[in-house]
Symmetry: C2
Subunit: 195 residues, 2 copies
DNA sequence: CGTCTATTTGAATGTACTCAAAAGCGGTGG
DNA sequence: CCACCGCTTTTGAGTACATTCAAATAGACG
């Protein structure tokens, strides 16, 4: 039932853990099942956990002063989800994380993660490396948002994450791309009509 | 002449290095002076160094297919500069880093940094922590770009970085904000006229 | 003073948004 | 099996925010 293997595989692709270290790691983490619609984190709460998704899908979103939702990211199998800013500072979260599907994930609590990183230096290294990658991806997204039109951003998204386009409603993809659902609909029509 | 103190202070605010560790660190890094206009990194080259700025200012920018420049970030005293994506993967850089002023910085080479992190676990921890913060800042910028108008982004920038507004030409700030220089000029006029 | 660069201005244009309404679609119950 | 409900997607008209292009103005520096 509790399947820690995807996480261990993921980690071992970056640093090589001994069997003892794997056991130690597993003793510090927990498995969790959430149903579609449930929240992993709510804006204003302190993000106590960071999650590695075994199956399912979440959206991370922000509700602005006008009540507008802005999707910041989607997370699927083998991805992480949390509000990093809230997690590392243990301050109230800016974002919500909600399940778009029934989701199984592996949780790291802030305290336990810190203990683990001190006990297992390879894990400190592991987390440094994955956060570096996340930062690079985030910067690239900023560049895309500046240098590409909405149409090109959509084409990029659907070519990079074809599996996501299947399982995520279009109005959420529009929000992720930073455009309205109506405009994304018009972009798709134009792409069909054009060629 | 070679002033490593700002870096040591910066590191010691996050992890506490012993004197021996400080000496070891200093033996792995180098000091560099660049004049206004010089490049710290050019698009297409492999980013061999990451830099901590002691004095001066750099811009990191991207030239797109149409030849348009897009400023991604500015770096001033006590900030880092590099193309992280190129640095961690040792692949050709997407971005340029050029000095807007005469600049003094402390360089970390990719190889030496890796050696240091293995020799001094506290440094591995240090880099994890600062990259986490950079990632959070990057995500927040994505959210601002989506949820704020150009005018509000400008107001945010000038309130957050008043010292930068003084020393950086307006057309570069416009590029950083993702708008044209003409439009930023109009925003500023409107702000003056309004109240 | 002249030159080069940066900033401002204005008119025309384009990209994306708002609002309102209609159409599509998947499930549920009569 | 069809009718209805809720939710998602589409459509269209009008609008707003930001861009392009061209030209004028302002500033900095030798």
């Amino acid at each position: 039932m509790e399947n820690f293997q995807p996480l261990l595989d993921y980690i071992n692709r970056i640093v090589q853990l001994s069997e003892a270290e794997e056991k130690q790691l597993v003793s510090h983490i927990s498995y969790r099942r959430l149903r579609k619609g449930q929240y992993f984190l709510q804006q204003g709460d302190i993000c106590k956990f960071s999650g590695f998704i075994v199956s399912g899908c979440t959206k991370t979103f922000y509700v602005d002063n006008e009540g507008q939702e802005h999707v910041i990211m989607f997370s699927v199998e083998d991805w992480w989800t949390s509000d990093m800013g809230s997690y590392i500072a243990q301050k109230p979260a800016d974002y919500n994380v909600q399940c778009l599907e029934n989701t199984e994930l592996i949780q790291f609590s802030y305290e336990e993660q810190d203990i683990m990183m001190r006990e297992i230096p390879k894990l400190e290294r592991f987390f440094r490396i994955i956060i570096e990658k996340a930062f690079v991806a985030s910067q690239k997204r900023i560049v895309r948002n500046f240098s590409m039109s909405a149409k090109d951003r959509y084409l990029y998204f659907s070519s990079q994450y074809p599996q996501m386009e299947q399982r995520i409603p279009q109005y959420l993809i529009a929000s992720y791309l930073g455009i309205t659902k109506e405009f994304l609909s018009k972009i798709k029509r134009q792409l069909l009509t054009d060629q």
